[in-house]
């Protein structure tokens, strides 16, 4: 029988929700031998319909609900929602509230990047670095607990400022934790990022050029690894970012190793940002007094911020009632997992799939919302 007539059937390998490296996300790999021909993503395991639920709740309840949208970097969601609503109403937050929000946003970025180091090394089978990284993130969660009273979900923001003031004890604990983490960074350098097996696993894997990254809608460290310095903190400064000096980390290669280095140097940047903020923290009120059932005036606003994963935007439409009329969350992981990952997975081997997936640092809860 002639080979050509017979339709070649390819094996489809499930990269399932119960795979240790996949998080809660399912993908079907069309495989020819070792190389992956095509990857078909199936999200939806963590879809709770956030945007529908937020239309039934008033703004304080939404501020509490919305930080469950992204599990690895909860504070960026709260920050986005509160700022979007404040932009509609044109509220001006007192100076101290701005500084506290920026400090907590940067601590959330450090927390998310350290958790990412842990997950990436677990996925690559590098268990000792995973145990150490997941032991280190306790320091930041401890700061969350002292400042906001909640460990993972701070529930710390409300429209008009912050719900609690930060104490001097928090300032001392933060500087101690930051010194410890700076020492750990050099440890991660020699233990993870310069490790021979790690570099060989990550180099030239999942490479995309600058034009491809822009066309696919990549943002955040994935885009900056391709050489484009798009950082919302620099281009559309919000909160207190215009008062701090920091530089945007970019690399040129665009492969998985460049993305890892981008995130590693961003931790160092965030540590220096928090130190600058703590040094000149203004006094005064940290919250505007608004009525309990405060209603935003009629209007629409689109607020973008730089979360740990990329550009996270909130499009809030308000019709004058205490509940928002429509909220749309632009989740960066949505593009990383459902557009970039299938593009990068083509012509890669099955063994590289977890390395590519977690070098894009996409959080399944953030993807499904």
């Amino acid at each position: 029988m002639d080979i050509e007539e017979k339709e070649i059937a390819f094996l489809t390998v499930p990269f399932g929700p119960q795979h240790p490296a996949s998080g809660h996300f399912h993908a079907l790999l069309k495989v020819d031998g070792e190389t992956v021909l095509e990857l078909e993503p199936h999200p939806g395991y963590l879809h709770r319909g956030f945007e529908k639920l937020m239309e039934y709740r008033i703004h304080p309840q939404n501020c509490v609900l919305v930080d469950r949208a992204d599990v690895l970097d909860p504070f960026s969601c709260e920050l986005g929602y509160a700022n979007a609503v404040e932009k509609i109403a044109g509220l001006e937050i007192p100076g101290r509230g701005r500084y506290i929000r920026t400090i907590m946003a940067e601590l959330g970025r450090i927390l998310s990047h350290i958790t990412w180091i842990g997950v990436l090394s677990m996925v690559l089978g590098f268990d000792s670095a995973n145990k150490i990284a997941w032991g280190d993130r306790e320091k930041i969660l401890r700061l969350n607990e002292i400042a906001t009273g909640g460990r993972l979900y701070p529930c710390y923001l409300c429209v008009g400022g912050v719900r609690r003031d930060i104490s001097q004890e928090f300032v001392d604990e933060t500087s101690k934790a930051l010194d410890y983490l700076e020492g750990q960074l050099s440890f991660y350098d020699y233990f993870v990022f310069k490790n021979e097996t790690f570099v060989m696993r990550m180099e030239k894997v999942g490479r995309m050029s600058a034009e491809e990254a822009i066309d696919l809608g990549a943002t955040g460290p994935n885009l900056r690894a391709c050489g484009i310095d798009y950082d919302v903190r620099k281009d559309e400064p919000y909160e207190a970012y215009s008062k701090v000096k920091f530089n945007v980390v970019t690399r040129g290669e665009g492969d998985a190793y460049a993305r890892s280095l981008c995130r590693r140097y961003e931790i160092a940047e965030s540590i220096s940002i928090v130190r600058q903020l703590l040094k000149n923290l203004p006094d005064g009120p940290y919250r505007m007094e608004l009525s309990p059932v405060w209603a935003a005036p009629e209007g629409e606003s689109y607020f973008c911020l730089e979360s740990a994963r990329g550009e996270k935007c909130f499009h809030v439409v308000s019709d004058g009632s205490p509940c928002p009329y429509r909220v749309k969350i632009r989740a960066p992981s949505f593009l990383h997992t459902l557009v970039e990952f299938p593009y990068l997975a083509k012509e890669s081997t099955i063994a590289d799939i977890p390395a590519i997936y977690w070098s894009l640092d996409s959080c399944p809860a953030d993807m499904d919302r």
Partner: protein, 133 residues
């Protein structure tokens, strides 16, 4: 010759004697759970307490609760808010919106149950009576 990488000396020598010695005498990172735990933080949002005298029975707390975890319950002829920990999300909105600070969140966070009914905090003399073991 292996191509030089991005950082200065790309491949660190994983066998670094001083590194091993430094780690040998470092305190272990793991806390032996039942004997050592991190001290609780006094501002932590844990289980609720209620001051029966201060409570005016206005039920603002049950209206503001995003998860509808606070329901009215009878106790000695008067209706008081009763918290169902199975629904609560510990967001402290009830404490913030209570006009005369009757309901408060304490840093107590040990809440483990075998059956679901004991998640509902019963009403007792000095406020909520947890029914856990």
């Amino acid at each position: 010759m292996r191509k030089m990488g991005y950082l200065s000396d790309k491949f660190s020598r994983t066998f670094t004697p001083f590194g091993i010695l430094k780690n040998l005498f470092r305190k272990p990172m793991t806390l032996q759970f039942p004997y050592e735990t991190l001290p609780p933080v006094e501002g932590y949002r844990g289980r609720h307490t209620i001051d029966l005298e201060k409570c005016a029975g206005c039920f603002i707390c049950s209206m503001i609760c995003p998860n509808k975890a606070i329901w009215p319950a009878e106790f000695k002829g008067r209706r008081y808010p009763q918290v169902n920990l199975g629904k609560c999300c510990w967001c402290q909105l009830c404490e913030e919106y209570c006009p005369n600070e009757a309901i408060k969140l304490t840093p107590h966070a040990m809440m483990v149950t075998m059956d679901k009914e004991s998640a509902i905090l019963g009403l007792g003399e000095e406020g909520f009576v947890p029914r856990h073991q």
